[in-house]
Amino acid sequence: MSDLINYLIQGISLGLIYAISALGVVLIYKSTHIFNFAQGHLALIGAYIMYSLFVTLQWPLWICVVLTLLANALFGWILYRIALRPLIGQPLISSIMVTIALMIGVAGFGYMMWGSSTRSYPAPLLSVPVSFGDLALGSIQIYSSLMAIFVFAGVIFLFKRTKLGQAMRATAEDHDVARSLGVSVRSIFAATWAIASMLGAVSGICLASICSLTPDLGVLGLVAFPIVLLGGLESIGGAIVAGLIVGIVDIFTAAYIDPLVGGEFRDVAPYVLLLIVLFFRPHGLFGEEIIERI
């Protein structure tokens, strides 16, 4: 029984981290109608920048976090500026292919700068086991869950209460109308990419402190895509719920199904789940049904 609760809590904390990454994809999709395949690799770059600042340069933790977020925001903005802006309004395959190309390019950039060796963060970012009675948890899991909840609150606040959020929602609704009402659509796009890239950095740092920092982290970030589609492309709440579902499924398959089928089924489980859900609900759990007219 305590095993079960343990797995559940682990799944929830992993799911919250996944959800942060998925949230970045949803934000970009909502306002620019581009599906960002590079989200996982933005997380990777964030984790690497954090490593360079914190371990190589040995700066204090809080400065490192702030600088990493800013640097990643800048990185996201640069990607948007050089690759995405010229392609606004192009057909679907262009927008899919350009972010796939960015994904590869960012992965290559990571290899070029930091190589392929395995690293891990030192003390404050290293997971220490903490136990409450029967429950055993990693300290990082607790911190990152708290951070995730904080991030969700921040994003929802941004969307519902601030002027920038209103402008983003307006842009998501209709580019032309938003523009005619004085919203600068281009700067909204740029802001969205910067924010999504920051979210990527947060999830990257959390993932890198739970697992370890290797180029495979970007591939681990691929799990954001089934989450986004599971929740529905346009739904922020959906991304959070689907993130939790996938996190729990992930941990439970690792614990109960992997021994039966011979390992690593947890990597595939989210995709199997996605195909099953899409068969019954083609727009995900909370996605909008699009009504089309000719």
Binding site: I100, L229, E264, L275
Partner: protein, 353 residues
């Protein structure tokens, strides 16, 4: 569709209209081209011959993607997975049943096609990004199956013997080159004819506006599934040829990255004509060879800080930059450039007509 006849040549009956190669000049060029590429292994160096074999084999898979993405407008990130299905089917049937290659190749294509339809089934109600991710899911599930099923012998790989024709083994060198080249020609013929027949036109209608296509009486469900079937069929055939050529099938040969390369090849070549599949594949394969040779040299000239490595990253970065540049500046690909060059030649000395 971009099919321009030379000045003064008119089609006066249907037989002329449906001819694949219309004028005598084109017949001459086709025969010359076939003769050149057919005779190449007898005088070119083995490196060139092997690069071309690789190009022919990959082009078959990209042709399938041309039917699915270029014509029917669906995106597949799972092409390499289906290629793997074809390769493993060939390996298993050739090993356990001893099937000859002329039976093995269509059987591999059909198996791959059926599995493609099975995955396509879940995507018949979904569109765009959802299909892209659903095919990504199929890719990841298939690679997982390759390395964990008993029948595929896991990560160690499955050895495949060379095919034999009339008791003679088609071994490395010119026999294998001609084998891949012949199958490529057959598949190109099929792809070209599908694209200009009723099926291809229905695909285009579905791509351009599926609701309007439905109103005109095209069964979207059937045609989408047919597109998935054809695409997987082509990649199954490609996988089969690949298995025979490589002599060894392992899961690492069919990872997600390969699928992405296929899509990139199609985009760079131009996704609206079969010619694009050829040009894009050749471009990427040759570029990849050049980078693989030059990267270690560059590494010596520019050593990178923080333990990074240029040789692992250069091909990734160059590939990404090439795709982004093509998407922004030439979304219709190399095939379109080729059309422009041809029309400049035809219209000379006038700049345009």
């Amino acid at each position: 569709m971009g099919y321009n006849l030379p000045c003064g040549v008119y089609n006066t009956n249907y037989r002329q209209d449906i001819r694949l190669i219309r004028t005598k000049t084109r017949i001459t060029w086709t025969i010359l081209g076939l003769a050149f590429f057919g005779a190449l292994p007898f005088f070119a160096s083995p490196v060139i011959v092997q690069t071309l074999e690789h190009i022919w084999c990959t082009t078959i898979a990209v042709l399938g993607l041309y039917l699915l993405t270029g014509l029917a407008g669906q995106i597949s990130l799972g092409q390499a997975g289906f290629m793997g299905v074809g390769a493993y089917t060939t390996a298993i049937f050739a090993d356990l049943v001893g099937m000859p290659f002329w039976l093995c190749i269509p059987v591999s294509g059909l198996t791959s096609g059926l599995i493609g339809v099975t995955f396509g089934l879940s995507s018949f109600r979904i569109k765009g990004f959802y299909i892209a991710i659903a095919t990504l899911a199929s890719q990841i599930i298939l690679t997982w199956l390759f390395s964990h099923l008993d029948i595929t012998k896991g990560a160690w790989g499955y050895a495949v013997e060379y095919p034999s024709l009339f008791g003679r083994e088609i071994s490395r060198g010119w026999p294998m080159y001609l084998f891949t080249f012949t199958i490529l020609l057959i598949m190109t013929y099929i792809a070209k004819n599908i694209s200009r027949a009723k099926t291809g036109r229905a695909f285009i209608a579905v791509r351009d506006n599926d609701l309007a296509a439905k109103v005109q009486g095209i069964n979207i469900f059937t045609y989408k599934l047919l597109a998935f079937f054809l695409c997987s069929f082509f990649s199954g055939v490609a996988g089969s040829v690949f298995a025979y050529r490589q002599g060894m099938v392992t899961p690492e040969q069919f990872m997600l990255m390969e699928s992405i390369w296929f899509l990139g090849m199609l985009i760079i070549g131009g996704m609206h004509t079969p010619l694009g599949a050829f040009l894009g594949t050749a471009f990427i394969v040759i570029a990849d060879r050049v980078i693989k040779i030059s990267a270690p040299l560059l590494q010596e000239v520019f050593p990178t800080a923080m333990g990074g490595s240029l040789s692992a990253s250069l091909s990734l970065i160059v590939f990404a930059v090439i795709i982004v540049v093509f998407l922004i500046y030439e979304p219709r690909g190399l095939a379109h450039r080729w059309e422009i060059i041809k029309s400049i030649y035809r219209l000379r000395p006038f700049p345009y007509a």
